[in-house]
């Protein structure tokens, strides 16, 4: 057998140990190993390297674990405090935003509604025995102006209280 031939299978041994050899090639490698002492020797030496790597045992100071645990307990407690505060702030801001958005939508609908009624005042006068000017004045005084005041109050309120409006 020539050297290139062994090289091919020794490369396959490396790939097998690295866990990237296909099942088909694994089978072919097994068959080759059963007949080739050179490649068996190569595999044996590789396996001894791997076994050797497991033969080291690093000492860990027994008090070290306790020190690490104390440090992470402290950090975890601090972190939980921050987490709880962040969650409260997020929820609080979220509720404020929802209130503010709902109020803004209601106000916009009020503007649109009053505007439409104002425009249609002429059609409403006949069935209700009103004159157009009376209807328009009613819409202005009892609907459009209150909506406008509410909008101005909303815009003038400080940001913190806006959501609670």
């Amino acid at each position: 057998m020539n050297i290139d031939y062994h090289d091919t299978f020794q490369r396959m041994i490396d790939e097998s140990l690295a866990g990237v050899l296909s099942a088909e090639k694994e089978q072919s490698l097994r068959e080759h190993l059963s007949t080739c002492a050179t490649c068996r020797e190569y595999l044996s030496a590789s396996n001894r390297v791997i076994a050797g790597l497991s033969g080291f045992s690093f000492e860990v100071n027994p008090t070290f674990n306790a020190r690490v645990l104390a440090a992470i307990r402290l950090q975890a407690e601090e972190g939980r405090g921050i987490l709880a505060r962040d969650t409260w702030t997020m929820r609080h801001h979220s509720a404020q935003f929802k209130n503010w958005a709902a109020f803004a939508v209601a106000l916009s609908m009020s503007f649109v509604g009053s505007g439409l009624v104002y425009q249609m005042a002429e059609r409403l006068t006949v069935p209700n025995h009103f004159v157009t000017a009376q209807v328009q004045a009613g819409v202005l005084i009892f609907w459009l102006l209150p909506s406008l005041c509410a909008a101005l109050c909303l815009l003038a309120a400080p940001g913190e209280n806006r959501g609670n409006a």
Binding site: R11, D14, E15, L17, A18, G19, V20, E41, Y42, S44, A45, S46, R48, V49, I50, A51, G52, L53, S54, G55, F56, S57, F58, E59, V60, N61, F64, N65, R67, V68, L69, A71, I72, R73, Q75, A76, E77, G79, R80, L83
Partner: protein, 184 residues
């Protein structure tokens, strides 16, 4: 497996001390072993280990539980070690392979591998393992001691799978002559 990783992710997110303690118990030694392989020295490793756990608590929300915990933990540890090495340029890990400045114990100090060898094979490997390029040593330890896949190692070291495979082959090729010709 996914159930276990989800449990860890949830525990970390809530900074659950019971989960954190269990993780320290389970991974402490492996973290020490990995950092020794990365740095080629034992002294100073404890500080990196502690820093790693504190970073784990700090960044607990970034582990999503979709993959195994070990690669994420080792990546955190690696980043901390690399940051420290950048501040102390006498140590280099990601320098050009073959030309890199090796991280090693101070002169006169025994190698951590010599001190930690518990078997005959380990004793034979100790010297060459110490002089091996850190990137090869790291790849060998992650593959054969931590039993990680090439894809997982690739995520930890931030290199393509083909590069990781090449480091493993080269690492084995450097250490193998120690045992060639042995019939034992």
């Amino acid at each position: 497996m996914e159930c276990e990783t989800q449990r860890i992710a949830l525990g970390l997110r809530h900074r659950d001390v019971v989960v954190l303690e269990a993780l320290v118990e389970q991974y402490q030694y492996r973290l020490v072993r990995y950092l020794v392989s990365l740095l080629g020295r034992r002294d100073g490793v404890d500080d990196f280990v502690q820093e790693t756990w504190l970073r784990v608590v700090e960044r607990s929300g970034s582990y999503d539980g979709q993959s195994r915990f070990e690669p994420w933990l080792f990546r955190v540890a690696r980043n901390i070690a690399l940051d420290a090495m950048r501040k102390r340029p006498m140590f280099s890990l990601d320098s050009n392979e073959g030309e890199g400045v090796r991280s090693s114990p101070a002169s006169g100090e025994p190698s951590p591998y010599t001190l930690a060898a518990r078997t005959q094979d380990a004793e034979r490997l100790a010297h060459s393992l110490q002089s091996l390029e850190p990137v090869y040593r790291e790849a060998l330890v992650l593959r054969f001691q931590e039993d990680l896949s090439l894809q997982e190692i690739s995520v930890i070291v931030g290199a393509p799978v083909s590069t990781v495979a090449s480091r493993i082959y080269r690492g084995l090729a450097t250490l193998r002559p120690q045992f060639e010709g042995d019939t034992a």
